[in-house]
Structure formats: C-alpha cells, structure tokens
C-alpha cells in the first residue's frame, strides 16, 4: 500500500521556529540571527555593537560553535547573559537548539537575544530559528563575486553588513559592484558598510537596529 506524503522535511524546523518566535514575542524579546562564513566578523560586531545596545537594553547572546567556547569567552564581561551551543560538527543552528538554549535564560529579564550562528555561508540559510531579524555579515576579503555563488544566504537576509571595508583597496574590491549584485538578488534587504573593528563605523547600523527594537517593543 502506497501513502502519498509530499511533506517538506523543513516543516519540522519551521514549526519549532514559529513556536520560538511566539514565545519570544510573549516576552517582547527581539531576536537577531547573525550569520556569515567563518571569520567574517560576527563576534567582533557583537563586541562593538554591545557597547551601544547594552546602554538601553537587557541582552543575551546564544553562541553557536562547532566545538569551542572561544567566542563566548570573548564576549564574557560585556554585561550580556551567555548560552553556549556546541553543535559537535553540525554546520548550522536549528530551531530546536534555540528552544533548548532559551530554557537556560530568564526571559522575563531580557529585551534582546543575539544569536551567533555557526560560521558557514551555505547551510544556515535553510533554518529559521524564530528570529525577528536575519543578518548576514559579509567580509569583502572573500571577494565581490560571492553573492550569486552563495545565493540562499544572501537572499534570505534582512540585513547585509558589508564588513572590513577599510581593506577594499588592498583586496581590489569594488564596493559598488558588490552592492549592485546583492541588490539584484535581494532588492529589499538593508545594506550597511562597516568596519566591525571600528565602533564609529557601526553608528548607523546600531541606530537603525535600536529603531527596529523600539518599533517591535511598541507593537
């Protein structure tokens, strides 16, 4: 006897992702999923954006890493609650891992959760975590030809932070060409040019994020 099922396996992840979103909404917590390839600057961004964001909001960070807690150690003492997820080889975080990590946080005492995803420019694209905002940090040292090569990561992002722009000349990168290609794939996303090592370059992004959080808290 044959049974027609025709179900996308990702419905399993999406269902938990939606539950996470509802749960966080119940506590008015805004969640940000930060993705990128390894070394693009996610942790550096967090280190420096927290200086601004933490003045106003109670923050937690869920750190995704294959095996170590190195990034969590870098972020310790920044006045944010930390939960480490080690995926033991897994190439992305999924919605169930976030649900588990959230159990370790006091959700009544938080305004924002940053999630640093596992460094990978392919797999995290398919996995909704229940976030409100998906950020892709793209380091220009990876070249200006990558958006179409790694299309899902670029077209699933709400915000693309083009990072390490002070190295554009050395790396022979045409930033306008890069932005044009991103726009072709994802016309709606917000783009900021940053140098995550330099907090001054983050002001525009920090202010915009602050506004998004403000709107969400009112809604």
């Amino acid at each position: 006897m044959e049974i027609k099922v025709l179900k996308n396996v990702m419905i399993k992840n999406d269902a938990v992702g939606n539950d996470n979103r509802k749960r966080f909404k119940g506590h008015k917590i805004y969640t940000i999923n930060i993705t990128s390839s390894p070394g693009a600057g996610k942790t550096t961004l967090l280190e420096n954006s927290l200086k601004y964001i933490n003045k106003k909001y109670r923050t937690a960070i869920i750190e995704g890493d294959l095996y170590t807690s190195r990034d969590a150690e870098r972020l310790a003492g920044k006045n944010a609650a930390l939960v480490q997820i080690n995926t033991e080889g897994g190439c992305h975080l999924d919605a169930r891992m976030i649900s588990g990590a959230a159990n370790e946080l006091d959700l009544n005492d938080l305004d924002i959760i940053f999630i640093e995803n596992v460094g990978n420019l392919v797999c995290p694209a398919g996995f909704d975590l229940g976030e409100n905002l998906r950020v892709l940090v793209y380091s220009i040292t990876e070249g200006d030809d990558k958006p179409k090569k790694y299309l899902p990561m670029f077209n699933k992002a709400d915000v693309i932070l083009i990072n390490k722009i002070e190295l554009a000349d050395i790396c022979k990168i045409n930033l306008n060409k890069l932005e044009t290609e991103i726009r072709e794939i994802n016309p709606k996303c917000k783009i900021f040019r940053i140098s995550a090592v330099n907090p001054d370059s983050l002001i525009e992004w920090d202010t915009w994020l602050d506004e998004q959080i403000g709107e969400y808290k009112k809604s």
Partner: protein
C-alpha cells in the same frame, strides 16, 4: 552536515504519518521515496549514513530508499510504501 538534521526530521515525519493511520499498526515499511529539490540539495550518501542509524530496530529498517528530483525548494518525503 545538515543531513543529520534532515534525516531526523524525515524519520519523524514518516513515523508520524504511519502512526496517524490506525490500519497500519505494526506493519513494516517497504519503500520510501524522497524528493530532493533545489537549491539545498541533500547529499544522498551523507543522508543515508544518518538515516540508516535512526531506523535500526524500527519498522523502517530495510526499506528501499529512492530519490526523485524535485523542482521545488527543499527535501521532501514523497511516498511511503507499507506491506499489505
């Protein structure tokens, strides 16, 4: 490595589908057809490595696994064939 997660999700969907059909209690699964779509194409070898671990000792053990190309985005459980 996302095949590990996908194998788990597929395993759960198949079992839930069978559990929801009371006339299939205790029946063995003979064949499962998956739809493998774009652009998150699943590596079949890697998927089977994880899937074969999950099915050990269950009614899915020994089922023939087949794959068809899908034009839709994603990885699908398309059909399940259960013994009469």
């Amino acid at each position: 490595m996302h095949e590990a997660t996908i194998a788990r999700y597929a395993f759960d969907i198949i079992n839930e589908t069978i559990d929801n059909l009371s006339n299939l209690k205790g029946k063995k699964v003979k064949k499962i057809v998956f739809g493998n779509g774009k652009p998150y194409t699943v590596m079949v070898e890697s998927f089977e490595l994880y899937f074969s671990e999950l099915v050990k000792g269950t009614r899915l053990e020994g089922a023939i696994l087949e794959y068809e190309r899908s034009e839709q985005i994603g990885f699908f459980v398309s059909t399940i064939e259960v013994e009469e």
